[in-house]
C-alpha cells in the first residue's frame, strides 16, 4: 500500500463530453443530436484508457472488438489504423458507435468506471468511423484497399460457393460481411427498397443518419456481397427455391418485423399508429419532408406514445420534431424499469417529452373515426416478475383520460411470419421465433438464423454478434458438410 502512495499520481482527466445540438434547436430539425468528437477530444479521451493487461471491455463486446488496440491507435493519432482494427471484428462501426448500449456492455466493465466514469468507448468508435468518412482521401482509399484485400486474401476455392443472407439489418449485414471475407459468393435479400433493415426504417435520422447506414452497406457490397432489393423471402422466393437455386447455406436475419398492439378497444381509430408504421413513414419514406417526398404522416399537436423502450423514445422525439406541442410517453412501470437507453431518456427529457410513469392505457376513445383520448389507469409496482422488474398492478378506480391527437403504440415487436409460414420445416417457439442452437443452426439442414427473429426484439449489437457466430458456423458446415 505504501508503495502505491509513493507513485506519482496520474493526472485525472474527466470523461470527455460529446458536443450536442442544443435541445431547443434540435427539436426543429432531424439532424443528428450528437456532433461527435474532434480529433483533440478523441485523443484526450483515448488517453484516459488504462491499457489494462487483461482488458475486460473486449469481453463486454458482443462482437469482440479489440478495443484496447483501437483506442491505442487513436491515442497515437493513427485514426485509420484504429478503424481497421475495429473493422477486423465489426463491419458497422459508424452504426455501433452510435446506437450500441455501451453502458451495458464494454463501458460497463471498464475498470475506470469503478471509481470514475468509464472510457467513452462508443464515442471513440464513432469518431474512428466518422474520421474515415469525412477524412482525407488517403484514408478513404486505405479503407477501400482494406475491403479489397479482405476479399483477395481468401481461399479462392470457397468463392464459387453460393450462400444466401435473408434480411439486410444488423444481423444480415454482419453475417454477409463475414461470409464475404471468408470468400463466399454472398447474395443478401432485402424485402424493402433500401438495405439496412431497422437501421433505415426504425432508428431515426437524428440518432443514426441514413448516410452512415448507406456507407456501411456500400462497404459490405465492396466486400463482394450482392444485394437484391424488393425480394421478400416467403413470397418472391421461398427457402426451398433458394436451395434449389444453388445456395448451399442460408442465414435468416429477418428481424422483429411484426408490430404488437395492446388489444384494447379503439386501437384501430384513425390517428393510432404502430411505432413501426410511424417510424417507417418518417425514416424510410421521409414523410418529414412531405410534400417534397410523397408519403404523408399525421402530425397533431398532442402525441401520446405508449411504451418505455428505445422505440418509444424514438417515436416521441420524432413527434416533437414533426412539430407536436405536447408529447407524452405513457409507461406502465416507473423510470428505473424503462428499457430505453439512459442517454436517450435524458435526450428525450431535454427535448420536453413528458413522461407519465405507472400509467397504462385501457381504452382509446374516438370521435368520427379519429382518436380523441386515451383512457389510462394508474399502476403501482408489486413483486418482481419473470424479467426481474417489479410487476405493475392496476390501481382500481384510478382511470383518467388524456386528450390526444395521435397515439403511437410502441410496446414491442414480434417475429414476422411471412417467411416462416412458407417453411414449415423450420421449427418455431410459441411466440413464433425461430429455434436455433448456440451455433445459430435451425431445424432445417443448411439454414441458420440469428438476431431478433431468434431472440425477439433486442439490440443492434446482439443481432450483429449472432450474425458473426452464424457466419463462422456456416463456414464450418460448408467446409465439413457436418450438420
Amino acid at each position: 500500500m505504501q508503495n502505491e502512495q509513493l507513485k506519482p499520481k496520474k493526472e485525472k482527466i474527466p470523461r470527455t463530453k460529446i458536443s450536442e445540438q442544443d435541445a431547443g434547436l434540435r427539436i426543429q430539425n432531424f439532424n443528428e443530436v450528437e456532433l461527435g468528437y474532434s480529433e483533440e477530444e478523441a485523443v484526450r479521451e483515448s488517453s484516459r484508457c488504462l491499457m489494462c493487461k487483461k482488458p475486460r471491455c473486449i469481453d463486454g463486446c458482443p462482437v469482440e472488438i479489440d478495443i484496447k488496440s483501437f483506442i491505442a491507435y487513436i491515442k497515437e493519432k493513427e485514426f485509420t489504423k484504429a478503424l481497421e482494427k475495429i473493422r477486423e471484428k465489426n463491419s458497422l462501426p459508424g452504426v455501433c458507435g452510435r446506437v450500441c448500449p455501451q453502458e451495458d456492455q464494454c463501458e460497463k466493465v471498464c475498470i475506470l468506471g469503478i471509481k470514475d466514469e468509464p472510457v467513452a468507448i462508443g464515442k471513440l468508435e464513432r469518431f474512428a468511423a466518422d474520421y474515415a468518412k469525412k477524412g482525407s482521401s488517403e484514408c478513404v482509399r486505405e479503407n477501400k484497399q482494406y475491403a479489397k484485400d479482405k476479399v483477395t486474401d481468401n481461399d479462392s476455392s470457397s468463392k464459387k460457393i453460393k450462400v444466401a443472407v435473408v434480411g439486410s439489418g444488423p444481423a444480415g449485414l454482419t453475417c454477409a460481411g463475414e461470409l464475404a471475407k471468408l470468400g463466399y459468393k454472398v447474395t443478401m435479400f432485402e424485402a424493402l427498397h433500401s438495405a439496412g433493415g431497422v437501421l433505415v426504417y426504425g432508428i431515426p435520422e437524428f440518432r443514426l443518419p441514413k448516410s452512415i447506414v448507406k456507407e456501411e452497406v456500400e462497404f459490405i457490397e465492396k466486400l463482394g456481397v450482392e444485394l437484391k432489393l424488393n425480394a421478400i423471402i416467403g413470397k418472391t422466393f421461398t427457402i426451398d427455391e433458394l436451395i434449389k437455386d444453388g445456395y448451399k447455406s442460408i442465414f435468416l436475419g429477418t428481424g422483429a418485423g411484426l408490430p404488437y398492439f395492446m388489444g384494447i378497444p379503439g386501437e384501430n381509430y384513425n390517428g393510432v399508429y404502430s411505432a413501426n408504421e410511424y417510424l417507417t413513414r418518417v425514416n424510410l419514406m421521409k414523410s418529414y419532408l412531405f410534400p417534397e417526398w410523397d408519403t404523408p404522416i399525421k402530425k397533431g399537436s398532442v402525441v401520446s406514445v405508449v411504451g418505455g423502450g428505445n422505440v418509444a423514445l424514438d417515436s416521441a422525439r420524432t413527434a416533437k420534431r414533426l412539430g407536436a406541442k405536447k408529447v407524452y410517453i405513457i409507461y406502465r412501470r416507473s423510470e428505473v424499469e424503462m428499457p430505453g437507453r439512459i442517454e436517450e431518456i435524458k435526450h428525450a427529457k431535454e427535448e420536453g417529452i413528458e413522461m407519465m410513469f405507472l400509467t397504462n392505457p385501457v381504452e382509446i376513445l374516438g370521435e368520427n373515426g379519429w382518436v380523441k383520448k386515451i383512457r389510462c389507469i394508474k399502476m403501482e409496482l408489486g413483486e418482481p416478475d419473470d424479467s426481474g422488474r417489479r410487476r405493475p398492478i392496476p390501481v382500481a378506480g384510478s382511470e383518467y383520460d388524456i386528450d390526444t391527437d395521435i397515439a403511437v403504440i410502441a410496446i414491442g415487436q414480434g417475429p414476422n411470419p411471412v417467411l416462416t409460414q412458407t417453411s414449415p420445416d423450420i421449427m418455431l417457439n410459441k411466440k413464433g421465433n425461430i429455434i436455433t442452437d448456440e451455433a445459430c443452426k435451425t431445424s432445417k439442414k443448411g439454414v441458420f438464423a440469428g438476431g431478433d427473429i431468434v431472440t425477439g426484439a433486442a439490440t443492434v449489437i446482439l443481432a450483429m454478434g449472432a450474425g458473426k457466430v452464424a457466419a463462422r458456423a456456416m463456414d464450418e458446415y460448408l467446409r465439413t458438410g457436418k450438420w
Binding site: 427498397h193 408490430p259 384513425n270 410534400p291
Partner: protein, 286 residues
Amino acid sequence: MENINAVIKKSVLAKDIVSLDIFNPTIASKARAGQFVVVRVFENSERIPLTIADSGPDSGIINLTILKRGKSTQILCNIEEGLIISDIAGPLGKNTEIENFGTVAVIGGGVGIAPTLPIIKAMKKAGNHVITIFGARTVDGLIFTDEAKKYSDEFYICTDDGSQGYKGFVSGFLSEYLDKNPGKNISRIIAIGPALMMKAVCDVTKKASIKTIVSLNPIMVDGTGMCGSCRVEVAGKTKFACVDGPEFDGHEVDFKLLIDRLNIYCEEENTSLDKYTENHKCRMNN
C-alpha cells in the same frame, strides 16, 4: 432483354383508367389470382399496393391497371412506355381460393374490374359456372368486357346512368337477379371494387346467405405485415390486409372502419395532388 420493371406497353382503357404491362419475370412467374404488388415509382414516391390484373409466366410481364386519382396514381398513369419503375415488390398477400364451387358470381366495379379477370379465368378453368357482373358509372368506364365475356357463362353489365346494360348499381342488379333466379344455387360470390360497392353487395348476399369474398384495399406501406397501416376488422378481430388478406369474408368485414381508414390522408393527398397538377400545368405552359 428488357430491363426489370420497364413499362413495355401502356394503354388507356377508359376515362382515367390506364393499363401498364411491366417486365418483371420473377413476379410474373409467381403471381396468382388475387395477389398484389407494392410499387414505388420514383425515389421520393409513396409505396402503394396495386392488385395484379394479369401475369404471363412465359412473357415475364405483369399487368397493373390503375385509376387516376391521387398523385401517385397520376404519376403511374402519366408514365411513358420504356420508363423503368424504381421498385416493385411481390407478389404479396394470399391468393384467391380457387376450386370447383359449382356456380360462382364474380362482381367487379370500376377499376376493381381489372383484378377480377384472373379470378374469372381461374374459376372457369376450375370448372365453375361463372356469372360475371361488371359495373361502372357510365359506359365509358367499362374495361375488359370482351376478355371477361370469353370466360364467363353469363355476363352482365350495369351502369349508374344506364348508358349500357342494367341501370343502377351492381348490388341492385344482383338483388333482382337472385329474386328472378331462385334455382341458380350460387355457392360463392367474389366482389372487388370500391368499399361502398362491396358493402352493398355483401348486404344483398348476407340476406341470401351466399358466402361472399371481398378484396380490401386499405392504405399500406411495406405490404409485408411490418407496419399495421392496413389493419381491418374481420369478425371483430384486427387483421393485416397485406398478409392475412387482401381477401376476406365480406359478411364479417367492418366496412365503416375500412372507409374511415381509407380517408386518413385526404387532406395530405389533396395537397400533394394540387402541387403536382400545378407543376404539371406549369410545365405544359412552358
